[in-house]
Symmetry: C2
Subunit: 357 residues, 2 copies
């Protein structure tokens, strides 16, 4: 029944016109029968579908439809890191989940692009897409913005540095961190250090010197750092190579070598904070008795730690949804406005008054 050898050009796929001819209707009628976009008599539709089955025709070609309608049904998400790194972070996964949920609900599919500078930007330049979301925490969005805006692809940023013509979803990174720092200050902490997200494209580790800081365009990381320094202006910072437990561990080890001893470590993400806790325990320090540790995100880190981490909770899923909705609005020709979410301090059991206090 399927794939009969009774029509010319068999082996390659049939075309709508061929199906229409076989059904004895015009191409436009056949088109309507498939898309359901217009009125077609039931009996006519049946004939068309039957002809399609006989010719083994699998429906309108998305490529042709795409050219005709000017839409590909694809929304791209541009990340900086390779997948294994990006998705090691539950925040990124949750964000993507929100995005996928919202655009999927609107009939769009999600194209995953890595903003690698290699290969002439690969998909950034060539892939069909109706809009693109630039994922935040990125150290440098410029290349992606340049290529995509030249292509005139509508762009939406997530936690990106404010820039002309890039509507954005943001959170109050600085204020959130400031509240956390104030919490620590209130407990009596004075010697507080920060473990930051990557500060440059190379994801280099090490102390955040003034030079490095000035050279950095890592929006999220800089904002969160500023929040802590609003309260602890001299807080030293150690740069991690990614939002991973292991990176937090590495950075915290470096920080714990410092003298005089720290009383608290703030991770710019929950995973970094968990790494810091491990580093502390590795040295026989108890959390929070000997040292306080706090994070940022309020990520789902069940099972990763026995502690309830003190952290700044952000509405990650909602952030993803909102970004997706902005993209959909842009595609619908509706006005697109920036969206800002608010974070909330959640006190856990990893922060307490320092011994010396």
């Amino acid at each position: 029944m399927a794939n009969p050898a009774n029509h010319p050009g068999d082996g390659s796929r049939a075309t709508l016109a061929q199906v229409a001819a076989r059904a004895g209707v015009s191409a436009s009628t056949a088109s309507l029968a498939f898309s359901g976009a217009g009125p077609v008599a039931d009996e006519t539709r049946e004939r068309v579908l039957a002809a399609a089955r006989e010719l083994d025709y699998g429906g309108p070609d998305p490529r042709a439809r795409s050219l005709r309608t000017g839409r590909s049904g694809i929304i791209a998400v541009v990340m900086e890191d390779r997948i294994s790194v990006a998705f090691g972070d539950p925040v990124a996964v949750t964000l993507l989940d929100g995005i996928a949920d919202e655009i999927g609900g609107a009939g769009y599919s999600l194209l995953l692009l890595t903003d690698s500078l290699e290969r002439a930007e690969g998909g950034l330049r060539d892939a069909p897409m109706d809009a693109a979301l630039l994922l935040g925490c990125s150290t440098d969005l410029d290349p992606a913005v340049r290529v995509l805006s030249q292509r005139q692809v509508p762009l939406i940023g997530v936690e990106a540095e404010p820039r002309q013509g890039l509507p954005m979803v943001d959170i109050d990174n600085r204020a959130g961190m400031r509240r956390l720092a104030e919490h620590l200050a209130g407990l009596g902490h004075e010697r507080v250090a920060v473990i930051t997200l990557p500060m440059d494209r190379g994801h280099a580790r090490g102390p955040l010197t003034q030079v490095r800081q000035d050279a950095s365009v890592a929006y999220t990381g800089l904002e969160r750092l500023a929040g802590v320094r609003d309260v602890f202006p001299d807080a030293p910072a150690e740069v991690a190579a990614g939002s991973l437990i292991e990176e937090g561990l590495i950075a915290a080890r470096a920080l714990l070598d410092a003298e005089p001893a720290l009383t608290a470590i703030v991770g710019q993400s929950d995973l970094l904070a968990l790494g810091a806790i491990q580093a502390a325990e590795e040295r026989g320090l108890r959390v929070p008795e000997d040292i306080s540790v706090a994070g940022f995100d309020g990520a789902r880190i069940d099972g990763l730690s026995r502690h309830r981490l003190t952290t700044v909770v952000q509405p990650t899923l909602e952030k993803g949804r909102a970004a997706a909705r902005l993209a959909l609005a842009a595609l619908a020709g509706e006005p697109v406005e920036n969206v800002a979410f608010t974070t909330e301090l959640r006190i856990g059991d990893t922060t307490a008054a320092p011994r010396s206090a």
Copy 2:
């Protein structure tokens, strides 16, 4: 300079023909100037690019190119779960990383599709793609296979039930688990239980009854179960709702209620095994002294546990790469053959002789 109002139809994007006209060359020459697919005099190319800049033309439209060439440059990955669930599993992330790496290297981009049955299969039916990878461990590939093969999209399976016309990358799930079971048997274990991956689309938890087992088409889970039962034919099995630590915890709690007490639990993934360890410790059981626990995958679970889990190591990244290469081969018209990888037993410190032995 950019976007001058000196050409008609401004505001919408320019077209290659317009650029060619402005540069005083033919459309085909302009096309070559952009694609670099043919010889063009340097000076001519310069004129074309200049004209493009003046018209604010961002390069050939991927949609039109796609229709013309019959290629979209997109390879889809079809997963069963929603993103937050799928990517909670480091194995899935690693697999995807391997895939993305390989297809990115070949100039393709990665479209993420969820095989949800809602919305008329959304992207499965409509999204442009040149090939699709069906990700394994799936409880039911049928719908995706049906839709995509009707569209005549080349398909590659990863750990899927063998089926006609679906080239596949597989591992020796059963043999690997059998070796693990033999290791346990060699230590003297007799009462061994299994925590399985989801067995049906609903991801229902609970004991795996014979009825449920017979009704299941969850290839990977059934294979891994069979491996254990090759050695422990009566091993009870508890079904988890996903490859997550928390699911392992839930399932293990149920198993630990059983009498007589188990001496070992085998998780069908490392995450499930970690959950089982937590469940054991929750009851004051020490691992491996009081109960042995083993997993499957050899996933990167640094920082998630103090133990070195005994597990069956599979080459996950390589599996992803191989699947991607099969897809690329299919697109290149080369013959596509099944690929099989071999697992390896890695003894950690979570398995030991049972107390009674």
